[in-house]
Subunit: 328 residues, 2 copies
DNA sequence: ATGATCTATGAAAACGATTTCATAATGGCC
DNA sequence: GGCCATTATGAAATCGTTTTCATAGATCAT
């Protein structure tokens, strides 16, 4: 069937060991090296990765488990991770959990069976607490969502700071009844909620917030009910772009004009946020940098396992657009 | 280090062969089966996939190479493929080429080294013609972009029909100077261009079209120059959502109001297309069905290699929104 | 009761690479 | 020229499974 290293060896008139050395690194004379190269070309040899991994006890693979592959934030991070990995001669296994703890457990098990070298992971709140209990034989770097302090390396956005910026901006524009809508499955949603509450209190304002499942439908339903109330907020900050879509739809369904009747601000500078009318005021996350940093943390830990646990906090950038126009 | 099947065998007081049979399928008494299960739990055994793959000569892995992971069309297809695969007990390796033929070649080689069971692939035009030349030892199913007839199974949209629908709709709304903007790297762009030309001629109209690199920036630049001309089109059909963003930006930068000054219609029903003002008239692709069908074709070919080559053509659904409002 | 057919189990081979170990050849140094 | 260090090469062991192959009991029909 498939051509093996023995076939190449025979074709080149050398031993399999020499072929292995010629292809990898090892002392081989130029003459034999060329013979081997010719034999590889002639036979169309492709090394069997399973055999290589088994013998060398090194999968050369890093795992990437994300919560929602449809979320452009995660696809952007994935691309950055993939780039870094392939540049370092490693492969990537990408899995998508849809925020489902059961699938997270399933994929974690799969990663163990693959004997991956390291893992980059955006876990749900449910899993992140159980993670230290599982004895994993590879280092883990959390992205987007941090876990209990000092357990795993992590790279996250400065959520408190981002929320402070958004609230500060809205207050400056004259809003006082500012609501908050957050996803209920991720620690990021929780962190942004904390940041929201702190920022509101710093301004002497009363927080009013709601938490929903991470889907635009859930957000639309909840927001529509909320906005129908007499004491509805005049502005809403939203913890991610999926929920933001729901908020916009809810406002429109009630005939509320943004920002005249309701100001809106959210997270993630997706291309559509500047295309809608009015454009959305958002915190832009440094997605490539997050992916690159996660890979750096992982590589450094692989190289120096004794390193202290590090948490890299990156700052977002506030992009002001029409959705947070001055209050009437 | 890691616990192997021998350790489990020792703990259960049986031979490694029995452990293997108890975990997979094979005749094992209930008593021993339970002992093995207990030993697995006690030792925390995770089978080494590299060893299993090597011995059983079956990677249990299907490859998925897409052109652009940021394109929601491909992420949606990916999810469907992933679901089908894991349901069948297979794993997925996902790679992203960014429409770069060099990376396509790189990843194809990687897939061979992984000894994947089958491949689902959305190739660029450059690669799709070379594909038959490469002797791959696994079946390939093309998605989104078909190759030369009769070589590989494929599942694609009915692009000619979709274009006929869009042009028919615009003509009905009173437009006659209808331009076309297409991506230049995929066969899909080319096919939609053919469909556009055919549909225009059927209506006795003169086609005027342009092809650009698959990025919103390129589309914006090209469209802005186009719309500045005296004989500019009064409507534009656009072959994908990335380009559509560029067209909208170009129109706005010139102060053209959609649809009053320029009607627009495109492909892919992304969530933002109903959020912008006016909403975008688009052809919606049955993304989940595309992914599921690709997996079905692949599985059936694996089961019955002699099957004739099949090309499944799925129909899109036209969603009419404000962007194609009646001509003045 | 006896041979024939199953069934559950273990011993050992096999998958295809890398790596250790041994060895022949080379070169340098006195 | 002889000895030691160095180098290039091959033989063989090894990684952790699955899968033959052999075998000892058990079951069955006669």
């Amino acid at each position: 069937m498939s051509v093996s290293i023995k076939d190449v060896a025979r074709a080149a008139g050398v031993s399999p060991a020499t072929v292995s050395r010629a292809l990898g690194r090892g002392p081989v004379s130029d003459e034999l090296r060329q013979q081997v190269a010719a034999a590889v070309r002639a036979t169309g040899y492709k090394p069997n990765l399973a055999a290589r991994r088994l013998r060398s006890q090194d999968s050369g693979t890093i795992g990437l488990i994300v919560a929602d592959i449809r979320n452009p934030f995660f696809t952007a991070v994935s691309r950055a991770v993939e780039d870094s990995a392939y540049r370092a001669g490693m492969r990537v296994i990408l899995c998508n959990t849809d925020e489902d703890p059961e699938r997270e457990a399933l994929y974690l098990g799969l990663m163990q069976e693959e004997r991956i070298t390291g893992l980059i992971f955006a876990p749900t709140r449910a899993t992140v607490d159980l993670l230290p209990k599982r004895s994993l034989d590879f280092p883990v770097v959390l992205i987007d969502r941090a876990g209990p302090a000092g357990v795993h390396d992590a790279v996250v956005l400065d959520n408190r700071d981002a929320m402070a910026t958004l609230i500060g901006h809205l207050v400056e524009r004259g809003y006082r009844e500012i609501g908050g809508l957050f996803g209920n499955s991720s620690s990021t949603g929780a962190e942004r909620r904390e940041g929201y509450i702190a920022a509101m209190q710093r301004h002497g304002l009363t927080p009013q917030f709601r938490a929903v499942a991470p889907s635009s439908e859930a957000a639309q339903k909840e927001t529509a009910a909320w906005l129908a109330q007499a004491d509805r907020p005049r502005a809403i900050v939203v913890s991610n772009s999926l929920l933001l879509i729901g908020v916009i739809k809810a406002a429109r369904s009630l005939g509320l004009i943004i920002p005249r009747d309701l100001a809106v601000a959210g997270f993630d500078n997706e291309s559509w946020t500047e295309l809608v009318e009015p454009g959305m005021t958002v915190i832009e996350q440094p997605v490539e940098e997050i992916g690159r940093t996660a890979m750096s943390l992982l590589f450094e830990r692989l190289q120096t396992p004794g390193l202290p646990v590090r948490k890299v906090v990156l700052s977002g950038r506030c992009i002001v657009r029409g959705s947070s126009g001055a209050a009437q």
